[in-house]
Symmetry: C2
Subunit: 370 residues, 2 copies
């Protein structure tokens, strides 16, 4: 605490990212990274002409990348915003659309960055409980007014949700959009490519929709920091105004050209995605055979709970075996592990370790523990 | 204007970056980029092992880069913050230190991003006029209270100043720090390596000092987006808290390792800097010989005014000759050109063009125009 801190910074509760372990030989299933490298075509860019050009500022509007994304979405570049990872895009949404416009609604079991942004950027939030089986029930999001505020507020929905992996169908999203025309709905689709339905085809029809995606997961580029938003030209202009009052150049030259090349390698994208979906489904079956409850995920991770062995003990015992998974010490989900999908070998090692751990009598039961 | 915009975004006046022209063959002296490529050692990193690792998140605390910067500054990594260009670092300062703590003072002729941040991040600003010869007189920054506010406020000083290029000496900064112990002083040293004195040696002694620098100028890495701040561990913690509530990973893997390698190539750094300083001094002499008033710059640009030919006409005529320089249509400086220092050949082309233009009778005089 410094006497020069603002009141804002004093009261923050910053987001804590998953551990970025530096030790070699770890099986790292804790931060939902892609186990496969980025497209070779994307990496080839790095040996090209981009290096010497680093002396020049990047294109502040990332036009080439916007154009390629627009073509992919069947929209116009004016419908695309590009930012430094979807995290930055989401932060800009708080400033552009949420601040001072009423409460922001999001699921209580969700990405733990949502409330961290709100504290920094002074946005009122109303977490809406997910159901007992972790589904998002959309009915509470449709109330005409929420709380005491008369302004319409906004909705943030991760789809698929993290850390549950559960997805809403596009027709559910569409019904919500039609029900709350005065409430902006941001769909955070970080994991959508692993089997859920994107809301992007609804952008033309619903001006209250903004869809956010990332290159970090399905494009194997978590280390590159590129995310984007898709919405009406007016919403995108709002994001641009914030960006140009904050940091004109969040996308560096390397990031723009690597992302562009990655986007063009459809074959690599599909092959990696299919391998991950296949490994996810196989791992889910095997974990269920070990007695785990495993939610039906459409993301690149599984959310799993053992009826007998406490999750925090499993996390520690897996770590002793050099396997990292993520555990959230939060109400409702503290008995669950979030397991990123790695290569088949990595998943085999995980299942084997969990098989030993859950059959051992060494670990106290959930009942004893609680 | 969208009905979903926040009041904040509606009222913004975003910063307008210098034009990033895409046409080939331009002599681009408008955005203070370095005319020389980055260190070959820095670029060699791109052909190494970093590409396949892009599937993994970067180190959220950029430890390797912080360590190298700390060693260079004779400080501890806890004294260093790294961000996505100094623009992002400055934006974080507004949230961490300026908001709600009284007025922010900065020179009225200065980096035009300062007021843009303030509108977005809700910080009261008090521009302090520079003298008639564009110097920063520090006396008005030392007043016990500024305006009606009783909170101490903060000071932002670019050193050297942009777009004037004029610098304060370290002993002037030191006297200011001692005079206003309750007021945080941020020194924006984007251009300091081209001949001014850094305030970094004062960090140990003055807890009210934060120094911000960038890799964009003297390291030829404008396209990479890496900036950093140096200050007390408590100030750095404040910036970290903001970053971790906004975007955990603003520095991508490529940026961290290229910046690190660039920092280690002292020889390339010194050689490029010396060439630029030499070209600046030669260009200044030649422009003065053409009748220009040219401020004594310690940055990688010159600020110059012709007593007869209006600046806006010179900008347009240079552009017709495929030479870009920057002109600010603002009170007090609208008769000046800001000319980035390029290669000797580029500066020769500029001087030659200005020689023709200022000797021509085609252009109306400043007197006629005004």
């Amino acid at each position: 605490m410094s006497r020069f801190w603002s009141d804002t910074v004093r009261d923050l509760a910053p987001y804590v990212p998953g551990e970025q372990a530096h030790a070699p030989g770890l099986i790292k299933l804790n931060t939902n990274e892609n186990p496969y490298p980025p497209s070779a075509r994307a990496l080839a860019v790095l040996s090209g002409e981009v290096g010497p050009k680093l002396r020049l500022y990047p294109d502040p509007s990332s036009r080439s990348l916007k154009l390629a994304l627009a073509q992919r979405c069947g929209l116009d570049p004016a419908n695309i915003f590009v930012g430094n990872g979807s995290d930055e895009v989401l932060a800009f949404c708080y400033m552009a659309f949420f601040k001072g416009r009423g409460p922001l609604l999001f699921p209580d079991v969700s990405y733990s960055f949502y409330p961290a942004y709100a504290r920094l950027l002074d946005v009122e939030v109303v977490p809406i409980p997910v159901t007992d089986d972790f589904r998002i029930d959309l009915e509470p999001y449709c109330g005409r007014s929420v709380g005491a505020c008369e302004r319409p507020g906004a909705i943030m929905l991760p789809n698929p949700n993290a850390p549950t992996g559960l997805a809403l169908d596009r027709n559910q999203i569409q019904a919500l959009l039609a029900n709350v025309p005065d409430r902006l709905v941001v769909i955070d689709e970080a994991y959508v490519d692993f089997g859920a339905e994107s809301a992007i085809p609804l952008v033309r029809e619903y001006e209250n929709l903004l869809v956010v995606q990332t290159f970090s997961k399905s494009r194997s580029l978590a280390g590159l920091r590129v995310g984007f938003a898709v919405g009406s030209a007016e919403l995108i202009t709002g994001l641009d105004r914030v960006k140009n009052s904050f940091n004109s150049y969040p996308i560096d030259r390397l990031a723009e050209c690597v992302a562009l090349a990655a986007l063009q390698d459809e074959e690599h994208f599909t092959a990696c995605r299919d391998k991950i979906i296949h490994a996810r489904e196989r791992t889910r079956e095997k974990l269920r055979a070990l007695g785990f409850v495993v939610l039906p995920s459409r993301a690149n991770f599984l959310f799993a709970s053992h009826p007998r062995v406490p999750a925090h003990q499993l996390v520690r015992a897996l770590r002793d075996r050099r396997i990292l998974v993520r555990h959230f010490d939060q109400p409702r989900i503290d008995q669950y592990l979030r397991i990123s999908i790695g290569t088949p070998d990595e998943m085999e090692a995980l299942v084997s370790a969990l098989g030993e751990l859950t059959s051992s009598t060494e670990y106290e039961s959930v009942e004893t523990h609680r």
